[in-house]
């Protein structure tokens, strides 16, 4: 159900009018090179913003368990993507007109949605760091900020990297949030391009080539899943 359409889209990306060709990728390069860069940029900014909030928050929560804040930060996990897009659009638009459809607005909305996942993953990683390291740092006079920066983050580095890759890939592939945030002028997110290329131009071949570019960019996430799976088999 998933593999077959996946294979069909990869195959279609290399054919045009029944012949094997790279012409679709040429179209992608000509029309969408800017959008590819834009998408990577927005996803990177969104991921950075997510961590900029999640790391201090989780460091703070690691030092003192405080249920209400932890609960609030996990709420975005349970809010559907479409709702997030709309909520942030109406939240921002009366006060900062035009911001919601800009790259900054999309990055903020993506960061908001992924905050829940980031907190879930990071707090788990931070809590598995042994308390004795934290006590040692505190005995030398380190505050929560120092402990987070110099002990928790380095010791949870691999978990941080994994969550970063997962969140980045998810942002690259996001469709409903940018769609709900509205279409400003200028570059678009990749998935929006795929949608319009397919839905309005009926150009499945180019849409598929764009899709393949997205698959490749999201390969990091796929590799993370594969490694976890093979590691789990031996455990």
């Amino acid at each position: 159900m998933f593999l077959w359409p996946l294979a069909a889209s990869v195959a279609a990306s290399f054919t045009r009018d029944g012949a094997l060709t790279l012409a679709n990728y040429e179209t992608v390069r000509r029309l969408y090179a800017v959008d590819v860069a834009y998408t990577v940029g927005v996803a990177a900014a969104g991921t950075a913003l997510t961590f900029a909030v999640a790391i201090p928050a989780c460091g703070w929560l690691r030092a003192r368990a405080f249920g209400p804040v932890e609960f609030l930060l996990k709420v975005p996990l349970f809010v559907p993507f479409v709702v997030v897009g709309h909520a942030l659009r109406v939240f921002m638009s009366p006060y900062v007109p035009g911001f919601s459809s800009s790259w900054g607005g999309i990055a903020v909305a993506l960061a908001w949605k992924h905050l829940g996942l980031a907190v879930l993953l990071l707090l788990g990683a931070f809590r598995s760091v042994d308390e004795s390291y934290l006590e040692a740092a505190r005995n030398f006079g380190a505050g929560t900020g120092r402990v987070t920066r110099d002990v928790l983050v380095p010791m949870a580095a691999s978990s941080l990297a994994v969550s970063g890759i997962l969140i980045f890939s998810s942002m690259l592939a996001s469709f409903s949030i940018p769609l709900m945030m509205g279409r400003g002028g200028g570059p678009q997110m990749l998935m929006i391009d795929v949608y319009y290329r397919f839905g309005q131009h009926g150009d499945f071949a180019t849409a598929s080539a764009l899709g393949v570019v997205a698959y490749l960019l999201a390969m990091g996430a796929a590799l993370v899943y594969v490694r976890r799976l093979t590691a789990g088999r031996h455990a």
Partner: protein
């Protein structure tokens, strides 16, 4: 869960202020956008440039009783019910097999059920839509159910595998030793023990289907409309109030699930997240 000991600065006024300030920031960041949905859903008149709506009212909530809102709600519930039933029928035996049997290709099967999570879905759904046109499934409820099943099975198979893994195999072995057949041991021992996990899995799948947007938009258009698609259409038409009402309604099942999971099913749910 490793041993978690929590220590912090000595209690005092500063600590209290720190907690209150953090709570306030978190509440603004997380609840702010959600609260603005409530404001918008009640705003009968809000002209550009004004920081606050000029007139509040329940007019847009009253529109919920109309057919153009109830119809997508009904369609969505019907689709979600079918998706949940089908996903469980498929995931129960599959999850059991993945948890208990070490058959060749087990890792590959697990991987196949992770791919939809790892890869961008939209181009794949676009491709599926094209295939569905050929079979007359595009724009039909069965087509939407099929496209929902792709994502739903990821949730269902992984939670069911985790659930069956958590049940000690010795219990079934004991039943075999007493002469029960494999089927009988499964139906009499493993299945009843798995009921809380099955409920959790069903809730997750039901919620996923109710909120699914991308696949429904592509495959269902133009005849099958669920609430997320209805909300998108309203928002594109600048009916922001209607979209806000719909958004609030769409959050209800998620909120219920959040509370249920916090209270009853937390461990299984987190185990699932830990595995993925």
């Amino acid at each position: 869960m490793p041993d978690v000991r929590v220590s912090g600065p000595a209690p005092g006024l500063g600590r209290l202020v720190g907690r209150a300030a953090t709570l306030a920031i978190a509440a603004f960041v997380v609840a702010g956008p959600l609260a603005s949905l409530v404001v918008w859903s009640l705003a009968e008149r809000w002209t550009a440039g004004s920081p606050w709506p000029q007139r509040f009212g329940l007019r847009y909530w009253a529109r919920m009783a109309s057919g153009d809102f109830l119809e997508p709600l009904r369609t969505g519930l019907m689709v979600a019910t079918m998706v949940t039933v089908l996903a469980l029928i498929l995931a129960l035996p599959l999850g059991y097999a993945l948890a208990r049997l070490a058959f060749p290709g087990r890792t590959v099967v697990l991987l196949v059920f992770l791919l939809p999570q790892a890869f961008p879905q939209l181009p794949v759904f676009a491709s599926a839509t094209r295939e569905f046109y050929r079979w007359g499934l595009a724009g039909t409820v069965p087509g939407v159910v099929l496209v929902h099943l792709v994502g739903a099975l990821v949730f269902a198979v992984w939670t069911m595998t985790a659930v069956f893994r958590a049940i000690a195999p010795e219990l079934e072995e004991a039943a075999w030793n007493l002469g029960a057949s494999t089927t009988r041991a499964f139906l009499g021992i493993a299945l009843p023990l798995a009921v809380p996990g099955i409920v959790a899995s069903a809730l997750l799948v039901f919620l996923y289907s109710l909120d699914e947007f991308t696949g429904t938009l592509l495959v269902g258009a133009p005849f099958v409309t669920t609430l997320p698609v209805y909300m998108y259409t309203a928002s594109v038409g600048y009916e922001l109030q209607i979209a806000s009402v719909t958004a609030l309604v769409l959050m209800v099942p998620g909120a219920v699930l959040l509370l249920l999971l916090e209270r009853f099913l937390r461990a299984e749910y987190l185990a699932f997240f830990g595995q993925v």
